[in-house]
């Protein structure tokens, strides 16, 4: 039995030691092993604590309810569950009783008992809350997470990253808490009876600015500007910069996802999607890696807060960027150190870092000196005894170069460093084996072995044909000599240290044969190639014959441009890894579908032009010339498209070494050098002419008239490089990174709004207005965005732009309230209804309620999935924006007749053009589902009428049995059939007893006469009922809300909340009381089977009644009963938190909704119960009653 009951979620916690005898807590229940407690405050200030909400709780860091495990080993207890509401704690308590009591009786040993309980709780917590912060080891984060989750209507999977105390400035200052989660930035305050909730989607943030606080004294504020221009000002942030950085990091990640998952990106943009690098969703990576080191049953399952994961990620990516390492490398150790290279006496002071397969050093003195040594190139390491430092590592590289690191750190740190090095080295054995064949592909090796003319078998086309340019003019020979010397002094290829002379050698241009290899060494693609031997060949082989989509893309893709040219100097394999680095690291987002990265850099270029050459910038604006017209192709093709090849390669030399900042420097230098002529040009044609002419004369002397022969020899290209490096020295990689960060949100939103405009232009809007189309578009992509944040494999075109059945549910939920189906994840909550709902007084209602909810969910899902099928005109299983638009248009703008037809068709499952008994019942269930949030009585009546009339007007197929009995409204529901479809069948089976009953009944179907209702009779039945007519005429259409928020808007003020709560509560109480009275007879007449089964389920659950009596004894007056209702509804809030959809619109009236929800639930339960109960009761004769009624009514109707 016990396994029927799923444990409630978000209640159990990792067992935490605490004192059972806490003066703040009253013990409510206690058994031999467990204690249920509630805070003293919660009783007296019951309403207050509800209104002041969870926030107060969060401040005091104590939930009002908790369950303790009494240890027998020592006096201290362990807290195993805590909850905000009585309902939750009651559920948990029942679960504990059911699952532990018997087991604990069997075990004798106290130690054993404890272990058993704790293991079980831990596994429960880890399993249930996997991926949320509720299980973080940090208690503060845990309670913040709980407060966040319950204050804001977010999905249970949403992870809180951090929270800060701060003030929000509106008309007045509100002191409260800022919550930052994966997808949202939220603020909550409750002051002077006024509640302020702010709920912002990170994906809609357009700009973030650090600011001084209002009084201008402290730099402790952040301004958040949304893409629609709305601004929010938060101050009093004690960790302002941390907050800001975190927001920047998260919005960046969000942008990346936005670009990948929604309209903005739709084709295979990444050339290297196959190896999975660079396109991973960061969150999923993070979560995966966290999960991997803990099984569900591990003894201490704790999740680190997401924030730590993010920080680590940031640190790692900085580390990788700095040394051009593959993204598989993570920073493991670091220490301040002194390096000595070879036999030289120069000492370099700096820091040494270690990752899985690299030992890196960077000099922190003025002397530039950078080394990233792959561990697999280390022949030997010795620990030396030296006077100056306790730890000195003497390393002998593969190329017989001696490198000494003296670690200057505390002893323990050095020990740790050394032992990690040892471990990591051991793991390199395999890589070491492939080193030799790899080095055979490096020209530097051939050069040092003095056979520089040996053409490698896999090398660039230039080796076979010819390199661009005249080698003599390029001074190829002397350059090669210089490099040879450099290699001898500082190591080569994988073991090369980049010294002060390195950039100089690069800037004069690389010698042809070394070019490919040095590009690799500069960009880090050398590491990728050496660490993935054979990968490229394998890729080719795997894809042999099949023209994969991505290869085809590359073929005609932008990349081709660069690739074609790389291949002059590099082998195919080299070029492959080079492109990899180019797309992922050097120019992220350049070669993606939206060219987001390239557009971003254009914005930055414009910004830099404005800063460095204001006159030119102003002139261009004046004559209305867009800079990108000329400059975008420069960046996209790395100047290959614009400059003569010889010079374009010189630019590439610098670019691969120094990164994208070089492109900016050169672009600005070009504009500067041609400044006068550009200032004279008055349209983009003239502008282009100037530049074209300039590029065609790059080889000419810059100063042809100079008397100085040296100056005369200086070409325009030389001049360009000088200007680039000298005049635009201030453009550093850091500056570029910062500018990219500052402009990225704007650029993404610009792309977004452009995409939106152009997509909407190609959509047939039906009868929707422009504004409505805009809303449909937004909700469509919002559903996609939140629907599958981890959709990685969605490389197939179209997939990312269409709704599948899951995302359709959340889309529809964001348009129509009734479509907000509970998420699967809250099943646990849903199916366990251990009653303190008022209805539980009726015996046997519990299991019915659970079943009914489950069933309603299924009905809802089926209804929506049939709607999905209707919308899916081409049957692809995916809905495009057009299909959704057309579908909604039919629903909203169709007339009464079309909507009736729609419902008819949707429920005609066997497509025979008529509705049979099951289908009619299916229809009525669908209607019940749609009406579940509405004021119950009217619809209840209408649906009862519908069923009655439907059966009446339907044509009977088989000979109907007639028996006369007068029936009332209740009884007419005795005519039912239980099976709606497969899924429901499954569902019913879970409830053992009931299923038995069902089976016995359905085994005699011959007794039920089949009926058929045609579309005309269906229309007649609908039109016969005012409520239904109104529903089909306008109600259903109006339930789809486009321009107004999905839910009724309510004020934020606590007073209002309070008032409406009271009135809702009264209404609810009244209606339920009414319900009980009016349904009383039927309740009593329940079949004995049902009664038995439910009471059986109830056995052993003492707490519900206990908690209830507890409540009633505490007052018994009207107020108190209200409070218990309130409690119920707040619990509903947790449930509805599972709903996807437009959270933004919902947050404000969360509480009310829950009320409605709860109310709807109960009323629905009533009806549902009738529908089901009569199944159970109709042991053969009941259904006949209806038929006779049909006859009677039929004869009486005109």
């Amino acid at each position: 039995m016990a396994h029927h009951l799923k444990p409630p979620q978000h209640v159990f916690i990792l067992p935490t030691p605490c004192d059972q005898h806490n003066p703040l807590f009253d013990t409510v229940q206690s058994t031999e092993n467990f204690v249920l407690q509630r805070t003293k405050a919660s009783k007296s200030q019951f309403l207050n604590s509800f209104l002041g909400t969870i926030q107060n709780v969060f401040d005091t860091k104590q939930a009002p309810f908790r369950i303790l495990f009494r240890r027998q080993v020592n006096a201290q207890s362990l807290m195993i569950a805590e909850a905000e509401t009585q309902k939750s704690i009651d559920q948990a308590w029942s679960w504990v009783q059911e699952n532990f009591v018997v087991g604990l009786q069997v075990l004798d040993d106290a130690q054993e008992k404890e272990e058993w309980v704790l293991t079980k709780i831990r596994s429960l917590v880890t399993r249930a809350d996997k991926g949320t912060d509720d299980i973080t080891s940090d208690e503060k984060v845990r309670s913040a997470s709980r407060a966040f989750r319950q204050t804001f209507n977010v999905l249970p999977s949403e992870r809180l990253v951090s929270y800060y105390s701060c003030s929000y400035h509106s008309k007045m200052m509100n002191q409260g808490w800022m919550y930052i989660s994966e997808n949202y930035l939220c603020f909550y305050s409750f002051m002077l009876g006024m509640e302020t909730k702010i709920f912002l989607e990170l994906k809609d943030i357009g700009d973030l600015q650090k600011e001084k606080s209002k009084r201008g004294v402290f730099a402790d504020a952040v301004r958040v500007v949304m893409k629609d221009g709305q601004e929010y000002f938060f101050s009093n942030l004690f960790h302002r910069d941390e907050t800001y950085d975190l927001l920047v990091q998260l919005t960046t990640l969000t942008m990346e996802r936005l670009l990948r998952n929604t309209a903005l990106e739709h084709a295979p943009g990444q050339s290297n999607g196959d190896d999975g690098e660079g396109v991973k969703d960061v969150f999923s990576v993070d979560v995966d890696s966290l999960d991997s080191n803990e099984s569900a049953y591990s003894p201490a399952p704790t999740t680190r807060p997401l924030r730590l994961g993010l920080e680590e990620q940031k640190r790692d990516s900085q580390f990788q960027l700095r040394f051009n390492l593959p993204i598989s490398e993570h920073l493991m150790e670091e220490s301040s150190a002194t390096m000595v290279l070879g036999d030289k006496t120069d000492m370099f002071h700096g820091r040494v870092y270690m990752s899985e397969s690299f030992l890196c050093f960077v000099c922190t003195d003025a002397d530039p000196c950078v080394l990233a040594l792959p561990l697999f190139t280390i022949r030997r390491v010795e620990r030396m005894n030296s006077r100056s430092a306790m730890y000195a590592l003497n390393i002998l590289s593969w190329h017989q170069m001696r490198i000494v690191f003296r670690l200057n750190g505390p002893r323990t740190q050095c020990e740790k460093f050394c032992s990690t090095l040892k471990t990591n080295l051991k793991l390199q054995v395999r890589a070491m084996r492939s080193l030799k064949p790899f080095l055979a592909t490096c020209f530097s090796e051939a050069l040092l072995a003095d056979r520089p003319d040996v053409a490698e078998k896999d090398s660039g086309l230039g080796w076979i044909f010819e390199f661009p340019g005249d080698p003599k003019k390029l001074k190829n020979k002397s350059k090669t000599k210089l490099w040879l010397q450099y290699f001898k002094d500082n190591g080569r290829n994988l073991t090369m240290t980049k010294m002060a002379t390195f950039p100089k050698l690069i800037r004069v241009g690389l010698p042809n044969k070394l070019r490919g290899e040095i590009w690799e060494a500069c960009s880090g693609s050398l590491y990728l190639r050496s660490m993935n031997p054979g990968e490229y060949t394998k890729l080719l082989k795997d894809n042999e014959g099949k023209m994969s989509l991505s290869l085809e893309e590359i073929e005609k893709d932008l990349n081709r441009f660069v690739a074609v040219n790389l291949i002059s100097y590099q082998s195919e394999e080299q070029a492959f890894w080079m492109l990899n680095v180019l797309c992922d690291r050097l120019l992220p987002g350049y070669y993606s579908t939206s060219m987001y990265g390239a557009l971003l850099d254009q914005t930055i270029l414009e910004h830099l032009l404005e800063k460095t050459m204001p006159i030119l910038s102003k002139h261009l604006k004046k004559v209305d010339v867009q800079l990108s017209v000329a400059c975008l192709p420069w960046f996209l093709s790395l100047f290959i498209n614009s400059m003569p090849l010889v010079y374009a390669f010189r630019v590439l030399d610098c670019f691969f070494f120094e990164g994208p900042k070089v492109l900016f420097q050169i672009a600005l230098a070009i504009l500067k050098v041609n400044g006068d002529e550009l200032l004279a040009s008055r349209d983009d044609g003239a502008f282009m002419d100037v530049l074209k002419k300039y590029f065609n004369t790059l080889d000419e002397s810059a100063f042809p008239n100079s008397t100085n022969p040296k100056a005369r020899a200086l070409t325009k290209f030389n001049e360009l490089m000088l200007v680039a490096y000298k005049e635009f020295e201030s453009i550093t990689p850091e500056l570029v990174a910062e500018l990219r960060r500052n402009h990225q949100l704007k650029v993404v939103h610009n792309i977004g709004s452009f995409t939106k405009r152009s997509q909407l232009r190609n959509i047939a809007p039906g009868r929707f207005s422009k504004d409505e189309m805009s809303v449909i578009y937004d909700r469509f992509y919002s559903a996609l965005f939140y629907g599958r944040p981890q959709a990685r494999g969605s490389n197939k075109q179209g997939e990312a732009r269409a709704l599948d059945s899951t995302t359709f549910v959340s889309f529809l939920g964001s348009i129509a309230h009734w479509a907000q189906v509970e998420d699967d994840q809250v099943d646990g909550d849903e199916s366990v209804t251990v009653g303190n709902s008022p209805g539980h007084r009726r015996r046997g209602s519990n299991s019915t309620t659970a079943t009914a909810r489950e069933r309603r969910r299924i009905v809802g899902r089926h209804f929506i999935s049939r709607l999905f099928e209707r919308f899916d005109q081409n049957g692809t299983g995916l809905l495009s924006l057009q299909e959704v638009t057309t579908g909604l248009d039919d629903i909203i703008h169709g007339d009464l007749m079309t909507r009736m037809q729609l419902f008819f068709d949707m429920h005609d499952l066997n497509k025979d053009g008529t509705l049979n008994r099951d289908e009619i019942l299916g229809m009525s269930e669908s209607l019940l589902f749609i009406f579940r949030f509405d004021d119950g009585d009217t619809y209840l009546g209408a649906i009862s009428n519908f069923i009655r009339n439907a059966f009446e007007f339907a044509e009977k197929v088989e000979s109907p049995k007639k028996e006369t009995s007068s029936i009332d409204l209740d009884a007419d529901k005795s005519e039912t059939s239980e099976k709606k479809d497969g899924a429901e069948e499954e569902e019913t089976k879970e409830n053992g007893d009931i299923t038995e009953e069902d089976k016995s009944k359905s085994s005699s179907p011959s007794e039920e006469p089949e009926i058929q209702m045609s579309l005309p009779s269906f229309r007649m039945v609908v039109l016969a009922d005012e409520t239904l007519e109104q529903f089909f005429d306008s109600g259903f259409a109006n339930s789809c809300k486009l321009l107004e928020p999905v839910d009724r808007q309510r004020g934020l003020f606590a007073r209002e909340v309070f008032d409406s709560l009271l009135s809702e509560g009264r209404k609810l109480a009244g209606s339920i009381a009414g319900g009980i009275q009016s349904r009383g007879s039927s309740g009593r007449s329940q079949s004995s089977t049902l009664a038995t089964s439910s009471s059986a389920t109830l056995t052993g659950r003492t707490s519900p009644s206990a908690s209830l009596s507890d409540k009633s004894t505490s007052g018994g007056d009207a107020d108190d009963s209200k409070s218990s209702l309130t409690l119920t509804s707040s619990q509903g809030g947790e449930k509805s938190a599972g709903q996807a959809g437009n959270v933004h619109d919902e947050y404000e009236d969360e509480d009310e909704d829950d009320d409605d929800d709860a109310e709807g639930d109960d009323l629905l339960d009533e009806v549902d119960k009738f529908l089901t109960e009569f199944d159970l009761e109709s042991g053969g004769k009941k259904n006949l009653g209806l038929l006779s009624a049909t006859d009677e009514d039929g004869s009486s109707s005109p």
């Binding site: 005609k556 893709d557 004046k622 990108s628 192709p633 349209d683 044609g685 074209k692 002419k693 065609n696």
Partner: protein, 262 residues
């Protein structure tokens, strides 16, 4: 490409003040926009023209009756990703050539959507020519073969020559997917000039540009914007107002519209 200015038969080296016409080419990737321009400007053809990045800028002078016209041609990239940049090139354009590939039905759809965009967003007076390119492929043998671009479209004829490894379509001929009548009817309805061309053999290419030149109100351009440019006088009709400083050209375009309506 600096030799562009003196190539071609109708091209002249004139000391007459040329009328500048800004012309933009739009259309799906690989329909032959760059090839058309290359044919027009240099009278050349390349079998494997590389895709355009962003846009290429070329100029060509030619004579029309007693005037010299200097075409400033923006040959845009057809790949979808560049779509968002297109407005940058077509704004202020007096003429647009929207190109499709007669062997690829989907390219006409794309062309239509370009026309729609131009009619809504570009200079309201813009002269648009719809051009079906690659007619050389369909005028010869009617051997049908599946093209690499048209995989989705010609389902009826994919059975033949499946074993053919050669991807070179040109030698085999492919079936026409856009009937002349269909495209021409559409062009008429939308008020566009219509041509069928081959950049490969030069058929119809010159006409495209000549007809456009004829249809453009050259006199007006001469007297307004370009006059301003050459003579250093801002604005049209000799009127100098404050706004022209910021967007004199656009203003010129608007004046064009007024002039044309007369």
């Amino acid at each position: 490409m600096s030799q562009a200015n003196d190539a071609g038969s109708q091209v002249i080296a004139s000391n007459m003040k040329p009328v500048q016409v800004k012309l933009v080419l739009l259309g799906e990737a690989a329909v032959g926009k760059s090839s058309l321009v290359l044919r027009f400007v240099n009278d050349e053809f390349q079998e494997n023209k590389e895709p355009t990045i962003g846009a290429a800028f070329l100029t060509q002078k030619c004579r029309l009756e007693d005037k010299v016209i200097k075409f400033e041609i923006w040959d845009t990239a057809g790949q979808e990703r560049f779509h968002s940049l297109a407005p940058m090139y077509y704004r202020n354009a007096q003429a647009a050539v929207v190109v499709y590939d007669v062997t690829k039905a989907s390219s006409l759809e794309k062309a239509k959507s370009w026309v729609k965009e131009l009619q809504r967003q570009a200079n309201p007076n813009i002269v648009i020519a719809l051009t079906g390119n690659k007619v050389d492929l369909v005028s010869g043998g009617r051997k049908s073969r599946r093209t690499s671009e048209g995989e989705d479209e010609d389902e009826d004829q994919d059975a033949q020559e499946v074993d053919e490894d050669d991807e070179d379509d040109e030698d085999y001929g492919v079936s026409r997917q856009v009937p002349t009548e269909e495209a021409s009817a559409y062009a008429q309805e939308a008020g566009l000039l219509f041509f069928e061309t081959s950049a490969k053999n030069g058929e119809g290419v010159a006409e495209v540009f000549t007809e456009i030149a004829k249809k453009i109100p050259l006199e007006h351009i001469l007297s307004s914007t370009r006059g301003a440019r050459a003579g250093g006088v801002n604005g049209s009709n000799g009127r100098v107002d404050l706004q022209t400083g910021a967007n004199g050209q656009r203003l010129g375009g608007q004046q064009d519209k007024g002039a044309c309506a007369c």
